[in-house]
């Protein structure tokens, strides 16, 4: 039985970060893209909490995680509002088809 240590958390967080970015880059649907963003934020959160827990760094990390959760919520709210607005104007939420502004 391997004891769960800092490294495991870090690996998980790294994967989350990578998957999050992957989702941001590849998903067509704006909602899914935003979920990718959430993944990235949560990857960072895992880091914060893990570092805070496994080192003698004090509580700053956990504090940060709380802030991030709050901000993520706010960001999601705003993002969803914008996506809604996009749906109203374009009739779809396909991020890669919204490219009128370019060059």
């Amino acid at each position: 039985m391997v004891e769960v240590g800092l490294t495991h958390f870090l690996v998980v967080s790294a994967f989350l970060f990578a998957f999050g970015l992957y989702a941001i880059i590849t998903r067509k649907n704006a909602i899914l893209v935003l979920m990718g963003v959430e993944l990235v934020l949560n990857a960072a959160n895992i880091n914060f909490v893990a570092f805070s827990r496994y080192s003698n760094y004090g509580l700053n990390g956990q504090l940060m995680a709380l802030f991030v959760i709050v901000l993520a919520a706010a960001e999601a709210a705003i993002a969803l509002a914008i996506v809604l607005n996009i749906y109203k104007t374009f009739g779809h939420v396909n991020v890669d088809e919204i490219d009128n502004l370019k060059e």
């Binding site: 970015l21 941001i24 880059i25 590849t26 991020v95 890669d96 919204i98 490219d99 370019k102 060059e103």
Partner: protein, 707 residues
């Protein structure tokens, strides 16, 4: 009369025509008779210069009067010291004689022109131009330094340009003016370089100061070679102005100008300025330089004479004859016959002026017909013109009792002596050959024009003797072509006053650069032996004017030369009569037999064509090339080297297309990894952007290598 008042007199003579020029030019259109002012002014100038000559020759005959003033003061120049550019006036006997010759011929031409130019639309302008010419020519004459000569040298070039192209509506006239100016400029560049060599070394333009430096043993850049070069380069100015080979081409064309102008400028005075210039720098000419000058003169004289043999245009014949005679004078200076060269300059001025005015008279009466083949028998219609013309012809042919005989004989003797002393016999041989040819073509001209039957009856019927205003100048000049004005003894020019007034200056060239016969050792040896009464040294005079050895040699060949030249002149005249008067020899058949030679001569040795092909066309090609090069390559390189400038070339119209293309290339180069273009990168798809960001992070990591 003091020296300073003589100087002021000379300045007055100089400035009078300039005043005339300005007044007539500015107001000539409004006041029709203003030309009379110019004529009056030139007459006053003539009288003044006669007076000046009288004063100089009576009171200061052996003096050289110099007055200088500072023209430009360059202050205390580093390494040189106080540097000024001075101008000044020098009056010696040569000056005073030239003053007289120039003002006299100028005045006569003025009178002549009143009749000749009557009715021309730019009548008063013409007199204004004559005024500026006279001014410039007098400037050359009285200058005491090379710079001033150069200044007036260019100014006579200007007046020559203006007068040759006087009838500028004719393209040939304006072409000829341009040709004259440009051809002269070529020579002037050389002259200017020569002057620069002297100035660089001596920081002065003044003749006397330069000569002083040289006689003190200071040669340009420490080498006699440079002294020779300076001499030859300054002589290049003379090549241009005096129409020597290879820059002679402008003078025949210059006959496009009004005939009195040809008489004044292109026969009597301006073209002689070259000879005058060489005479001025005579003292500093090295042996090599003199030899070059002699050869140029000799080649020119025979070359031009050979062309004159076959020309049919009366003025062209005279023009080539002028070139030939100028070659004579230059040759004479080259061989050291200073006095006779100058003597010939003066006599030639009178009789060639006369010939041109005479031909003007003929042309005038024939209603501007210049082709001799349309003339003939005119001596009955125009007796005065004929007689005066004949006198001049005799003079130029070197027949005894004429002025030309005196000068030419001395000149030929000089070349012969030179041949004897140095072994360069080709020069005297050419000299004598030219004498024969001169007599021939001049009489050919006289016969074709005045003798025989009229070939164009219509024109002949309308011909008439010219008005007095034209004939009187002819008569005056004709009388000046008689020996008596120069010497009491018609066969011994050395007996005359001229010989005493004009003496060759003492050479200042270092010993080793002189001719063998001019070295002072030989001079000492000869000096003890000979004290000839003909010697120009002027017994008792302190200044030794020329190599005694040369004088002696000249004296030795004086009579043989005289006899030979008379014989040759006679032969020439005989041939002319045989061919054109008595028609014993058919000229046409002869021409047919010597077809190639005849063609060469008739077509002036194709010099114009060769120049045109070799230089003018090539120059124009080259200039077109440069222009193309400029517009395409230089501009192109500058534009294209920086890609962004490329857009400028296309700013209007397809600016964007091009700038974009340019940018695509440029940015591809700059950004390397990013891809083809920034613009393409901006796809509008936000996810693509994030991909870029992710890759950038990786690349930055790789670039910074933090491991």
């Amino acid at each position: 009369m003091s020296e300073s008042s003589l100087i002021s007199l000379a300045v007055t003579i100089l400035l009078l025509p300039l005043v005339g020029f300005f007044i007539v030019l500015l107001f000539g259109k409004r006041f029709e008779h203003l030309y009379k002012l110019e004529v009056g002014i030139i007459s006053v100038a003539l009288l003044l210069s006669i007076y000046a000559g009288f004063v100089k020759l009576t009171s200061y005959v052996n003096d050289t009067i110099i007055a200088q003033f500072t023209w430009i003061d360059l202050g205390n120049v580093p390494t040189i010291g106080h540097l000024t550019v001075n101008l000044g006036i020098m009056i010696d006997n040569v000056t005073i004689i030239m003053l007289f010759v120039v003002t006299l011929i100028s005045a006569l031409v003025h009178y002549f022109s009143i009749a000749y130019m009557k009715g021309d639309i730019r009548f008063s302008r013409y007199f204004a131009y004559l005024g500026i010419f006279t001014f410039s020519m007098l400037g050359i004459v009285i200058a005491d330094n090379l710079l001033m000569i150069y200044i007036f040298w260019e100014l006579v070039g200007l007046s020559s340009y203006l007068l040759i192209g006087f009838w500028y509506e004719k393209k040939s006239a304006s072409d000829a003016g341009m040709k004259a100016f440009l051809t002269n400029r070529i020579g002037d560049i050389g002259m200017f370089i020569g002057i620069l060599i002297l100035f660089t070394n001596y920081h002065t333009f003044s003749f006397t100061e330069i000569f002083n430096h040289i006689s003190n043993g200071v040669v340009p850049f420490g080498s006699n070679g440079w002294l020779t070069a300076a001499g030859i380069l300054v002589f290049m100015g003379a090549i241009g102005k005096s129409a020597q080979m290879p820059l002679h081409v402008w003078l025949p064309d210059a006959m496009e100008g009004p005939t009195p102008v040809s008489a004044l400028i292109h026969a009597a005075t301006m073209v002689a300025a070259g000879v005058y210039l060489v005479a001025r720098i005579f003292a500093m000419l090295t042996a090599d330089a003199m030899l070059v000058i002699a050869v140029v003169g000799a080649v020119t004289s025979i070359f031009a004479a050979s062309i004159a043999l076959t020309q049919n245009d009366i003025k062209k014949v005279l023009a080539y004859s002028t070139v030939s005679q100028l070659g004579y004078m230059v040759m004479a200076l080259g061989v050291g016959a200073y006095t006779f060269a100058f003597f010939h300059l003066v006599t030639h001025a009178f009789f060639k002026g006369l010939l041109f005015l005479g031909s003007g008279s003929v042309i005038h009466s024939m209603h501007h017909e210049q082709d001799m083949r349309n003339m003939g028998g005119l001596k009955r219609k125009m007796p005065i013109t004929y007689i005066t013309f004949l006198i001049a012809t005799l003079a130029i042919s070197g027949i005894p009792f004429t002025s030309g005989f005196l000068s030419k004989d001395g000149l030929l003797a000089g070349t012969w002596a030179f041949g004897n002393l140095t072994g360069h016999y080709l020069i005297p041989i050419i000299g004598f050959t030219v004498a024969l040819m001169t007599a021939f073509y001049m009489f050919r001209l006289v016969i074709m024009t005045f003798h025989g039957e009229p070939r164009n009856q219509h024109k002949y019927d309308h011909a008439h003797e010219s008005p007095k205003l034209m004939t009187i100048p002819l008569i005056i000049l004709a009388s000046l072509s008689i020996f008596i004005f120069y010497t009491p003894n018609p066969v011994a020019p050395a007996d005359g006053w001229f010989y005493n007034w004009v003496k060759a200056p003492q050479t200042v060239v270092p010993e080793e650069a002189r001719f063998e016969f001019m070295k002072s050792e030989s001079h000492e040896i000869e000096g003890t032996v000979n004290n000839d009464s003909h010697g120009g040294s002027g017994s008792g005079s302190a200044t030794i004017t020329h190599s005694e050895m040369y004088e002696h040699a000249m004296h030795a060949v004086h009579y043989p030369a005289m006899i030979l030249s008379i014989i040759l002149a006679g032969l020439g005249i005989l041939f002319a009569f045989l061919m054109y008067h008595w028609k014993k020899i058919d000229a046409d058949k002869l021409a047919e037999k010597l077809k190639p030679l005849y063609n060469l001569s008739y077509n002036k040795w194709y010099v114009d064509e060769i120049y045109s092909f070799l230089f003018i066309e090539r120059l124009l090609d080259f200039s077109r090339f440069i222009s193309w090069f400029d517009a395409t390559i230089v501009d192109g390189i500058v534009n294209y080297s920086a890609t962004f400038t490329r857009g400028v070339a296309n700013i209007t119209g397809w600016f964007d297309t091009y700038i974009v293309d340019g940018l695509v290339n440029f940015t591809a180069f700059v950004s390397g990894f990013v891809g083809l273009s920034f613009r393409k990168m901006q796809t509008g798809k936000v996810q693509t952007y994030i991909v870029y960001v992710v890759f950038s992070v990786i690349i930055i990591l790789l670039v910074l290598r933090p491991f």
